[in-house]
């Protein structure tokens, strides 16, 4: 029997084609390869056009702040001569309070240009607020689909707050219990309304983030005379890393090291009804970061514009307790009270800066707004209510879903390197698996996989040989 679920999922391609206003099949080159740059530039907007769209939308040109107190704190625990200068791009100053406004501003502009009556996005986070805010400005209707509650109807406070703000901007918020079928219901709504799919992973959204990289390069050159030594990026689905890195490249900042950072949520299942309210983070975590980097095309678009392995030089993970500690430190030392998820990269940056010389510079490329529910105190109080232990100690003892360990001293902040080679291998395995079983990768496929993993043909050939043996 064909269920409603099967029927809608079977028409997935057709529904998304109509809702994206873009035919992705034109970019396909083989069962493995597609023309990424052709897809990225297909919208026809130059970087200047995007800056103009965002200026009209009230987005971008956020302050870049030097964190002198955090820098000295890091220097106080570093070896002599070590401790890079730390800067932060205060993206909370965007209209709806996060870098996601950059993404939404381009998507909603496109929806309006193409004549859609409304937009739909599936997101439990800042992107929903951004889409709702921009839709309000452009006079478009807006539906936000959220995974909000566990089966007991207990809502994650950060997501409940996000529903409030989306409704404040006039959006219809569809709140659901835990499960990946959120995507199925979004397809039903797209089918029913004929609205534009404001996907997080379209080329429109990811192009919108490029201005962030561009601003960082320009502002750092003005402030310090050079591009940053490293840019640390809170990493979830990969759009933030991809867009920022592309923007830095387009600005000519080719020497800046791209460092992605996620909160370690290993051991927790992203589709689990019982793990859902024990995560204490709704984004910026490895539960999105690893699966999306190793298989970007699992997203709601046929080809994901967010392809972080093309750009990442280093992937760091930090613990929940470290991020909450640093969030508190940012407020107390720098007068910047911001949302915890956005401070993931800050926790990683403080650890990274300790290894770097004093003359080096590290830019943390975002902050996000904070408020009731969306605050480190709210998350920790909620964690306790959900049975998670919260205590002071060594962050190495942090265990996601069981115990959150708040560091006792800044010396204990220690980001961990995630094995990028393992991720690249995993990506190649997934790309081969997505092709028909008897398909033999061509030289063009190898070149594509090398670009998509930021390696070379020989490395990809070796990975493919390893897969054949296995």
């Amino acid at each position: 029997m064909i269920t409603r679920f099967d029927e809608i999922m079977g028409r997935r391609g057709e529904i998304m084609r109509g809702a994206l206003g873009m035919d992705y099949s034109r970019f396909e080159r083989s069962p493995i390869a597609f023309d990424y740059e052709a897809m990225m530039s297909d919208h026809g907007y130059s970087l200047d056009d995007i800056v103009a769209i965002q200026t009209t939308a009230g987005v971008g040109n956020t302050p870049l702040l030097e964190l002198r107190n955090i820098t000295d704190l890091v220097r106080s625990i570093s070896e002599a001569g070590k401790g890079a200068r730390i800067f932060v791009k205060d993206e909370a100053a965007n209209l709806a309070g996060a870098f996601k406004d950059r993404r939404a501003s381009v998507s909603i502009h496109v929806a309006k240009e193409k004549g859609y009556d409304g937009v739909i996005a599936a997101t439990s986070g800042n992107y929903g607020a951004a889409v709702a805010s921009q839709a309000a400005r452009y006079g478009l209707k807006c539906i936000i689909c959220q995974e909000t509650f566990d089966s007991r109807h207990i809502g994650q406070p950060e997501i409940v707050e996000k529903a409030r703000v989306c409704e404040a901007y006039g959006a219809e918020v569809v709140q659901m219990t835990v499960g990946p079928e959120l995507f199925f219901h979004m397809l039903e709504l797209l089918d029913q309304t004929g609205y534009f799919a404001a996907s997080l992973y379209s080329s429109f959204g990811v192009s919108g983030i490029e201005t962030l990289g561009l601003e960082i390069s320009r502002e750092m050159r003005a402030l310090t005379g050079a591009d940053p030594t490293a840019c640390v990026i809170t990493h979830a689905g990969g759009g933030n890393t991809t867009g920022t890195a592309r923007g830095l490249q387009r600005a000519g900042a080719t020497t800046t090291q791209i460092v992605s950072a996620s909160v370690d949520l290993s051991g927790l299942h992203m589709a689990s009804d019982t793990d859902f309210n024990r995560k204490s983070f709704t984004t910026g975590h490895t539960g999105f970061g690893v699966p999306f980097a190793t298989w970007p095309d699992r997203a709601d678009v046929p080809r994901n514009a967010a392809r972080p392995l093309r750009y990442i030089d280093r992937y760091l993970t930090v613990t929940q307790g470290e991020v909450f500690y640093v969030t508190e430190a940012m407020a107390k030392l720098e007068g910047l009270e911001r949302g915890p998820a956005g401070n993931t990269a800050m926790a990683a940056a403080m650890s990274l800066a300790r290894e770097m010389p004093r003359a080096a510079t590290v830019v943390v490329q975002e902050t996000e707004y904070t408020g009731a529910g969306k605050h480190h105190w709210a998350q920790l109080n909620f964690a306790r209510e959900m049975g998670v232990e919260v205590r002071c100690g060594d962050p190495a003892d942090n265990k996601p879903g069981t115990v959150i360990v708040i560091p006792e001293r800044p010396e204990q902040l220690q980001a961990k390197d995630f094995d990028l080679l393992r991720m690249r291998k995993s990506y190649v395995r997934n790309a081969v698996k997505a092709a028909p079983a008897d398909y033999v990768p061509t030289a063009a496929d190898v070149a594509f996989l090398a670009a998509d993993t930021n390696t070379d043909a020989a490395t990809v050939e070796a990975m493919l040989a390893e897969l054949r043996e296995a």
Binding site: D72, F149, E172, V174
Partner: protein
Amino acid sequence: MNEPQRACPGDWVEVERMILDPSQRSKNLPPETAAKPLMMWVKGFALSDGALGEEMTVETMTGRTVAGTLSAINPGYFHTFGKPIPELAHVGRDLRARLTAFRAQGGAR
């Protein structure tokens, strides 16, 4: 003050609806999720009279009509910051003291 138990046409309300029962759900879900129905809540203007728990149709902010069980009348937002976290109480004091000591030793230069 007692919360209202009935909604009138035009009232701002929330309805609850089951989207998928457990048998209709996606395969490959962890068992604790697979055993539960996929539920949905949405707010809108009531199109008829009704009591909490009764069937009702609403018109949402985008103009869609959605039928479901009346789950709340004029639903509010009650999420908070909560109490200060004792495990974080020391952070500001300790880090400011460290900074002062470091600068006093000339470490910042």
